[in-house]
Structures are given as structure tokens and as C-alpha cells.
Symmetry: C2
Subunit: 337 residues, 2 copies
DNA sequence: CGAGGATTTGTTAGCGCTAACACGCAAGCA
DNA sequence: TGCTTGCGTGTTAGCGCTAACAAATCCTCG
């Protein structure tokens, strides 16, 4: 294919048709594989396309077909392992299905910022939108989701009238908590994520339920913000606690901060205190000590999210739900003493 | 704004014009702010837009203006801190300037996969492309970048005929290495990133140059793959080294693995060995011990990358270069003994 | 009070493509 | 031979929008 000189108009279907000596419709048929074309005609057309470096004009096609082949993703602007991985999972599945992905990131999720992002994407003429914003406020924003436009959510908005895919956070928290209880601890402390995150709520709920089901006392929950710093601060105050012996951190970053604070306080993990996290970030196996944590398969989440959106675009149910089951990964931080 | 019933055609400019009792051109002028419109006419038009829930058809607009307001980003499908942060920086800057971002991710970078991704994006009618793929092979792919289409690269392809923005990796490596030498160590070992990464090459080069400039022996470089696992393995073999006293890891993840291996081998950091990393991931301050590392401002990188692309789309130089200077963050891992 | 200019609105064409239908031609059949 | 059938190709219209120009309206001032 030759590069077209800068400033020159891009070749159109008609230009190709001229070179190939056919009508523009025949060229269209060759490109889209619609309608019958004699092999020898097809070859002439393909040669002309090659010669001119023709590239279909997607705007013109979209205008007439009403389809853009683009999906929108509203993503949280953060480097949190989960959301970023989910994004790649979605992108992959979408690309395989022939869709492009347009992202619109949101720095501080809120009812209106998410609605704005969705509106932005609609103006970009996306055919559907995936919202990755596992916040309580995101859930509320989705409650007002239009019925005439396909929106799906990942990990949030239980009550929203949109399909939702989520990892079973409660179950993951239950697994971690039961694992710690099974080791003989009287109770398990918890460092929760920010209150406005659904995942934080669910993990806390799973932890609390499990303690109650086992009839053990529920300690005061400690509130963090997912960051290692907040885990560190939580660890500093927990270190003063006289009968502390097991902690379940809401994510791996906070667990890391916790480990750091304990190390500084001369508390040995797992000998004095056992610690578990959530997410299984790739680094968790190399923390000091290696961290027991709950693994979420984000690639799978991304794939299934795309699937749900594809279904919804086909007129599927607004109330579809999909749940991905997490897995407990046991490492030294809850190992033998 | 009312939701349109499913299945109904979206309202067009003409529909709005009908309701407002004006011509479609007047509506267009109101929407785009082109040409003068009487305030009272404008109000009627806006009311009609509101009433119908009108949303401009971007395909039609793109068809006639030749502009889509979309940029493409070729991203590496990975959760590495740097690329992901850069992506957000770009998205932010682009959104502020009124552009949308379409991403195309690449799992294994290579000459052809990157060229394919760029071609994909061009078919999506993006106005320009940013390639985030700091590989040697990416650089080669960019050497064949078309002259008639704006492409910029972040962090790679020194020789490619496209604008490039990068963090000064050599300088960062120099800072880390000099910092270690200044602490009185005889030499500094290095765990390098994968050979096909430009960043890995530059960091290694900066390290090597610095050692040579100071006239100290250059130890055999150890090759990792950015992962904590590879850092851990490097640490296991380094632990056997009799006169080891300072290590500069190519990134923070590998430094983490290294710290883990040293902890297992009973080597104390910084007492027995001092360790520095690269990137300053948010967790680095909470490693055991907190890690001295080189900070890169990825948000700035994203912003400037967008700036370079904007310049290139305006007919700017294909050989523009921008360099972001990194910063050494000193923490306990190179602290007093 | 009417010419001339500025302001506001309308008309027309066409961007590049696909849908729908029309046409020509060869083959099949009676 | 005439009529159908089906294949391969062409013609036309129109998607929703903006650019360019044309027309109408309003004001200002001699």
C-alpha cells in the first residue's frame, strides 16, 4: 500500500471504482462481502484498493448503517489493580468481537460525574457503555440509566436496572475470615476500604457475617482508603491492641502497610499476628511475609462483562446478573507459627 | 431531557428545527456557536433540543468536517504502573482538549502487532495515534510510521521519525547509582529489565556509565523481566555473592522480590546490603524496608505526550523530542546502617 | 423616508457510504 | 422460440450534518 501524500484527500469508494473500472457499489460489495462478485472483478477491485491505499470512511459507514462498532467504558482514574485489569479484559473481549473501545475516565466518582461520562460517550456515538465504578454513588447514578440505551455495570449497583457483573466479595471475605478463624484465633480484625465503595461494604459484610455465624465478638472496624498509607496507619493503632492476633485487610495494598507497621512495632507475622488481604496483586507473593489473600479473576470479569453488554445490545434483560467466584490463596502470612 | 422510546429513530437537526419553527441551519448554529442567532431564537431552539432529547450525530458531523475528535492510544496490555499511569495522563489531557480516546491494546509487542494496532485505529478514523510501547520492537515498528498521519511515541524509538517523549531513564539510573556509590560502596550490582525494553536498556546504560565514570568495577548484570518473581530469583543468586553490598533494581517490583529473597537468606537491608529501585510505585514507601527509588511523573508524561501529538496534528515537526526528568526518592533501603 | 450596511435566517449542495431496486445477460426449461 | 430464473452489476436515493452563499429583516443616517 502506498502512503498518500499529505494534504491529499483520502481516496473514496468512487476513486477505487474508477481505477478498477466498476461502479462504486461493486467495490462496496467486495469490501463488505455482501452480494455476489465475479472472482476476476473482485481481484481487480482489490488491486485498485491496494494501489490507492484505500481505507473505508467509518463516519460515512456509521452514518448510513447507524452502527459505529464502538463501545464506551467509564473507568475510574486510578491504578488500582482491579479496575485496570478489568479494563484490559473488556478491551480484549471487545476486540475479538470486532468492537473498538473508547474510554472516559472519572477522577472522583459521583452521581453526576458518571452520568456525564456516559453522556459524553453517547455523544461519541458508542453502541453501549460499561461502567467500572464500584462505588455506592455509581450505583445511584445507574439507577437513572436510560432504558433505551445499553449500559452494564461491573461490580456495583445491585439495585440498578442494568445488568451487573461482580465478584462475590462477601464470599471472598467469608473465605478469608473463616480461614483465619480455623487457625484458632478468637476473632479477626478488619481494615475496611472506603465507605462509599461497594466492594468495601461487601467485604466488611462478609467478614462481619462470618464472625457472627461463628459466635465470636466483632471488633471495631478500622476504616482505610485502599492505600498502603492507610493500612500503615491502621497497623500503628492496631499494634497497641493488647489481644490482637488476626487481621483481614480489605485489599493487598492496605495489608502491605499493615505488615510494614507491624514490622516497625516488632510484631512478627505470622508468629504474633496473622494477616490476610484481598485481590492477589502480582506482588503479594513477595511481601514480607508473602501474603495470604483472595484472588479475583479480573480477566474473566472483563470477558463476562462484555458478554453481558453484547446480550443487552441484542435486547437482553436489564436485570441480568453474573457472579464470579473468588479464590483463597494461602501463603506465609497466615502460615504455621 | 426525555428518554426516547426504544426503537424510535433518534431526533435529527431537522426534527429540532420543526419543533422550534426555524430552519435546520439555525439549529446547527445554536449548537456549534457559529454565526449570529437572536437570543430569543436561541432560547426556542434550546427548548426544542431539550424537549426532544436531541443529541448530535457525530458520524454525520465527522463525515462533513473530516474530523472525528478522537485519538487512538496503542497500549501495552499490562498492569505495569508506568504504562497505566501514562494512559490516564493522556486521557485527561485529551479530554480537557475535547478529544475522546480509543484504546487498542497489544499483548506481545512486536513490529507487526503495533503496526496492526495503528492500522486498526486509523480504520476507526482517529485523528492521531499515541504509541505507549517502550520496546525495541516498537521503535522499529515506528520507523515505518507514515508521514501523512500523526503518530507520537512515549518512551521509545529514539531513531523513529515520530515525536517522542520519554523520561530520562539514564539520568534516573545515574542518580540511583551515584547515590549508592556516595554511601561508600565499592560497586553496585544491577538487576535489569527485559532486554527488549528500551527503558531497561537505558537504565542499564546509565548504571554502567556511572560505574565506569567512577572507575569502579562493573559486575555481571542480572536479567529480570520486571516481575517480583524475577527479582526474587535474582536475589536468591545474589545472596550467595560474597562481597555484595549494593543493588540497583530496574524497577520496584523486582526490588520487592529482591528484598524478599534477602529476608529469607537472613540478609538485612540496609545493614548488610543497600537496595534501590525505579518507578516509585505507591507501595514502595511501605516495603520492608521502605524503598529508595526513582520517581517518574507519569501524569506529566501523559500531558506532554498529548501536547506533542496536538503539535504534530497541527503540522509540527516529526522529530520533536521531550524529556521528563526523574527524581530520586531516598528511603530506608539505602539508609544509615 | 429610502439607501446602505449589518444582522439574522434560509436554501442548496454534497461529504462517502449502504439499501433498495433496476437492469442485462446467460442458462434452464417447456 | 419464448419465458423464467438467478447471477453479476449498475443506478438512485438518502443517512444527518456543515459550508457557502442567498435572502430577508432590521437599523442607521443623510
Amino acid at each position: 500500500m502506498k502512503a498518500t501524500a499529505a494534504g491529499t484527500r483520502q481516496p473514496s469508494l468512487t476513486d477505487v471504482a474508477g481505477v478498477a473500472g466498476v461502479s462504486h457499489m461493486t467495490v462496496s460489495r467486495v469490501i463488505n462481502g455482501t452480494g455476489p462478485v465475479r472472482p476476476e472483478t473482485r481481484a481487480r477491485v482489490l488491486a485498485a484498493i491496494e494501489e490507492l491505499g484505500y481505507r473505508p470512511n467509518s463516519a460515512a459507514r456509521a452514518l448510513v448503517t447507524g452502527r459505529t462498532g464502538t463501545l464506551g467504558v467509564v473507568a475510574l482514574e486510578s491504578n488500582l489493580y482491579g479496575p485496570a485489569s478489568t479494563l484490559y479484559g473488556i478491551e480484549n473481549a471487545a476486540r475479538e468481537a470486532g468492537y473498538a473501545i473508547t474510554i472516559s475516565s472519572v477522577s472522583r466518582p459521583g452521581r453526576s460525574s458518571i452520568a456525564d461520562a456516559v453522556e459524553n460517550l453517547r455523544r461519541q456515538a458508542v453502541e453501549g457503555v460499561i461502567v467500572i465504578a464500584p462505588h455506592v454513588s455509581a450505583g445511584r447514578a445507574l439507577e437513572a440509566a436510560p432504558a433505551d440505551f445499553p449500559v452494564v455495570a461491573v461490580g456495583g449497583g445491585e439495585t440498578a436496572p442494568v445488568p451487573v457483573i461482580s465478584v462475590d466479595q462477601r464470599d471472598g471475605a467469608r473465605r478469608a475470615t473463616e480461614h483465619l478463624l480455623a487457625l484458632g484465633h478468637r476473632t479477626v480484625w478488619h481494615i475496611a476500604g472506603p465507605e462509599d465503595w461497594l466492594e468495601a461494604r461487601d467485604r466488611e459484610l462478609g467478614w462481619r457475617e462470618t464472625l457472627e455465624r461463628h459466635g465470636v465478638g466483632v471488633p471495631q472496624v478500622i476504616r482505610g482508603d485502599w492505600s498502603s498509607r492507610s493500612g500503615y496507619e491502621a497497623g500503628r493503632s492496631l499494634a497497641k491492641e493488647p489481644d490482637l492476633d488476626a487481621v483481614f485487610a480489605g485489599n493487598d495494598q492496605m495489608a502491605l502497610g499493615l505488615l510494614r507497621a507491624f514490622a516497625e512495632a516488632g510484631i512478627s507475622v505470622p508468629r504474633d499476628v496473622r494477616v490476610a488481604g484481598f485481590d492477589d496483586v502480582p506482588e503479594a507473593a513477595y511481601f514480607t511475609p508473602p501474603l495470604t489473600t483472595v484472588r479475583q479473576d479480573f480477566i474473566e470479569v472483563g470477558r463476562r462483562t462484555f458478554g453481558l453488554l453484547a446480550g443487552r445490545m441484542d435486547g437482553g434483560d436489564r436485570h441480568a446478573r453474573a457472579l464470579v467466584v473468588p479464590e483463597l490463596i494461602v501463603r506465609e502470612s497466615t502460615g504455621p507459627r
